[in-house]
Every structure is written in structure tokens, then in C-alpha cells.
């Protein structure tokens, strides 16, 4: 533990809209001694896995990044490719799995790559941050410096870390690894019925009402179960949940935050935590322990 090495695929979101997710994640990795090296070059994964069986070209962006990871893996001695965004995780993982399971598809992909003198030898393993934090839960416990007993956190997994089941980071019907990570961090964990329910994803662009309906249900479900913090690992869930929250007339007192923001806070790594989140969490501290 603590000696893990990972190559890292960022993707678009954490570089632009979810910067605090990435920055706090790296603060946490640094503290835990997890070695993470960002790929020198990466391509858009496509964000959603193409489901048509007759269109392998859709997977090329993901394949190029897998090849990049394979090449850097030889240099750095690890073939584990870490992602924070679970949409990236889901897409890269499914493309990788497809190529491993279907030699015909791999052949097709190789035909695209031949002219560029590229090949993919299937050596990469795509990993999401959730199981990495889970494996390091004891180290997390040792590095906690703030009293989180006033924080009632509802872990929200959503879809892409769990479905389809071939790529699930945990039991897709009853996931618990984020629960365990949060427990290790010393907060009160609130289980709620919609922890694996879809936020509505990309449908916001087609039927906004449906997405606001789904995401509101998730927020209110967590709130009614007693949570004051709703914890996500996905930039798209985060966006839809905020969309729903901002549309509510009576806003419940619950904050939507990234898992790594909460962990960084509890570990006293404040540099990259957004101000509104920091002050909200400060407000939940037990009497006499406001701030640090």
C-alpha cells in the first residue's frame, strides 16, 4: 500500500470544468504516496462507448490513448491507466475489454493503425480512482487531521463506475467501496436508495425536464436520508445535480461535492478546495472545531 504506480488519463472535464476534482485528487495522491504520471499525450475517449457493433472507428480515440499508455508503461514500469472521470473510465475500459475479447474487432482496429506504424498489444489495465482509494483506506485513515463527525455524507455512484457489470468497480447492485472510503475518512456515511440511479446524463440536451426530475430525486433522496453532503465522482453527474439544485425553489441544505474535495478537506489539504465548499464544510464542524 502506498507504493502504487499509475499512468493517468485526464480527459476533457478535469482540465476545464472539474479542475478542483483533479487538483484535490493529486493533493490526496501526493499525501498518500501514490505515484501518478499523466500521459504525455492523450485523445478524447469519446465520452460514451459506441454501442453499434458495425462501427469500430468510434473507438479509435480510446485506442490511441491505450497505445500511448502501453508505450509509456514500458518506460515507467506500470501498465495501469488511472482515470478520475468515470465516463472516461467506462469508455476506455469497455474499448479495452472489447479488443481483448473480440479478435475480429482488434484486427479491424489494427487496419486503421497500420499506416501510422502503431499497434496495440492489449497490455493496459484501465483503473478508476474509487478502487484505488478503497485499497488505500488505511492510509487515508492515518492521514485525517480534521474531525468529520458533523459531516453526513451520501455516496452517489451513478452509472458509469458500475454498469455494464463487466466493467463495474464494485458490486453493481449494492456498491460499498465509496461508503468504506468515507467511513475511513471519519465522516458519518448516509446510505440512500438512489446511490446507483442515473442522473439523466447527456439527455439534458434533449429533455431537460427529465434530467432535472431525475437529479432532483437523487438530491432529495440523499437529503431526506439525513445527508448534508452528496458525494460524486463524475463531472457529468455533478453538472446535472447542480442544474437540478439550482432549479429548486426550496433549496435543501445539502452540498454537492467531489469525493476528493472532501478527502482533501479532511486531510487538511486546503489549497485547491473551492471556497464555497470549504466554508460549507467548516460550518459542519463540531462546536469548538470550526476550520482547523
Amino acid at each position: 500500500m502506498g507504493n502504487d504506480k499509475y499512468l493517468y488519463f485526464p480527459g476533457c472535464s478535469v482540465k476545464r470544468d472539474a479542475k478542483s476534482y483533479e487538483k484535490t485528487a493529486f493533493d490526496v495522491f501526493g499525501k498518500l504516496g501514490i505515484w501518478v504520471k499523466e500521459l504525455d499525450k492523450w485523445w478524447c475517449c469519446g465520452a460514451t462507448f459506441g454501442l453499434a457493433v458495425d462501427d469500430v472507428a468510434r473507438h479509435l480515440g480510446s485506442v490511441r490513448s491505450l497505445i500511448q499508455a502501453e508505450q509509456e508503461g514500458a518506460q515507467y514500469g506500470t501498465y495501469k491507466l488511472l482515470t478520475l472521470c468515470p465516463m472516461c473510465y467506462n469508455t476506455l475500459k469497455r474499448v479495452n475489454l472489447l479488443l481483448k475479447k473480440d479478435p475480429g474487432k482488434l484486427d479491424n482496429i489494427r487496419r486503421y493503425l497500420r499506416d501510422e506504424n502503431l499497434d496495440y498489444k492489449l497490455s493496459v489495465e484501465v483503473v478508476h480512482v474509487l478502487p484505488v482509494l478503497y485499497e488505500n483506506r488505511d492510509l487515508i485513515r492515518k492521514n485525517i487531521v480534521r474531525n468529520g463527525s458533523g459531516i453526513r455524507a451520501a455516496p452517489y455512484y451513478g452509472c458509469t463506475p458500475l454498469r455494464p457489470r463487466e466493467v463495474a468497480v464494485d458490486n453493481p447492485e449494492a456498491p460499498s467501496i465509496m461508503h468504506v472510503v468515507l467511513e475511513s475518512a471519519g465522516v458519518h456515511v448516509v446510505d440512500f436508495p438512489f446511490k446507483t440511479e442515473c442522473c439523466g446524463a447527456y439527455v439534458y440536451a434533449y429533455n431537460r425536464k427529465a434530467v432535472i426530475g431525475k437529479s432532483s430525486m437523487i438530491i432529495l433522496g440523499a437529503y431526506k436520508a439525513g445527508a448534508n453532503v452528496l458525494v460524486t465522482v463524475c463531472p457529468l453527474c455533478h453538472y446535472n445535480l447542480m442544474l437540478a439544485y439550482n432549479s429548486m425553489k426550496n433549496k435543501p441544505s445539502i452540498k454537492i461535492i467531489y469525493l476528493t474535495e472532501l478527502l482533501a478537506y479532511l486531510m487538511g489539504l486546503d489549497d485547491n478546495i473551492p471556497h464555497d465548499i470549504k466554508s460549507f464544510l467548516d460550518g459542519l464542524a463540531p462546536a469548538g472545531e470550526g476550520g482547523k
Binding site: G11, S13, D54, C85, Y206, N207, L236
Partner: protein, 122 residues
């Protein structure tokens, strides 16, 4: 079977005839309450060769969450088949996004734009 149904089968690589209409897909679908035709009914339309399936609004409301795909006891893959139904239209150039109509377009994060563009423009 007509041309449209053939295409759906070919693009999805799935066998709709395995479906025994248990309704599990509809029961677990998070978007079902916003669908004009429910997931198991869409599958039934395809079984019966009903080409009006391409007009069904629900396939665009499907979020590809894979809840139905994971739970279908016959491994029909409804959520995969719905992508094929979408692609029958998208590959003809009929797309389903109007960027100008999206409220707060400028506030939409890249991930939201990329996923929606992939799903609604093909």
C-alpha cells in the same frame, strides 16, 4: 423483415426474439416515466417488425445507463438496441440536437457537450 428492422438488428448485433416481455427493462429504467413508449414495448415493436419504431421519442430519452442491459434475464440488451434505433435516423442525417435551444449553452461543461453531441448527432 423490412429494411429498417434489418438495420436495427445488424447495427446492434442483438436478437430481439429472445425477449419474453417480462418488463424488467421498463421496471429498472430510470427514464421510463419520461418515455412515450416503454422499453419492453419498443422491443415488442421490433419483434413484430413495426417500422414506426424509428418515430418513437423514448429512444432519445434513453440515457444509455445500462440498467436494463445488466438486468434483462434473456440478455436481449434493450439499451444497446435503442442505440441502433437512434443510429437508423442519425445515419440518414436526421439529428436530434438544437444547440441554440439549449438553455445556458455557455455554462454547459465540455463533457455534457461531447456526450450529447455524440448521442444526438451520431
Amino acid at each position: 423483415m423490412g429494411d429498417v428492422i434489418d438495420k436495427i438488428i445488424r447495427i446492434s448485433g442483438r436478437n430481439v426474439n429472445l425477449c419474453y416481455q417480462c418488463g424488467m427493462c421498463t421496471a429498472v429504467c430510470p427514464m421510463a416515466e419520461y418515455m412515450d413508449v416503454k422499453p419492453h414495448q419498443i422491443i415488442r415493436m421490433i419483434q413484430l417488425g413495426d417500422e414506426r419504431v424509428v418515430e418513437v421519442d423514448a429512444v432519445w430519452v434513453c440515457a444509455s445507463c445500462m440498467a436494463c442491459v445488466d438486468r434483462c434475464p434473456r440478455d436481449v440488451g434493450p439499451g444497446i438496441i435503442f442505440e441502433a434505433v437512434r443510429l437508423v435516423s442519425l445515419r440518414k442525417g436526421i439529428d436530434k440536437i438544437d444547440y441554440r435551444a439549449i438553455e445556458d449553452l455557455e455554462a454547459a461543461p465540455t463533457l455534457a457537450m461531447v456526450t450529447a453531441s455524440r448521442k444526438y448527432t451520431g
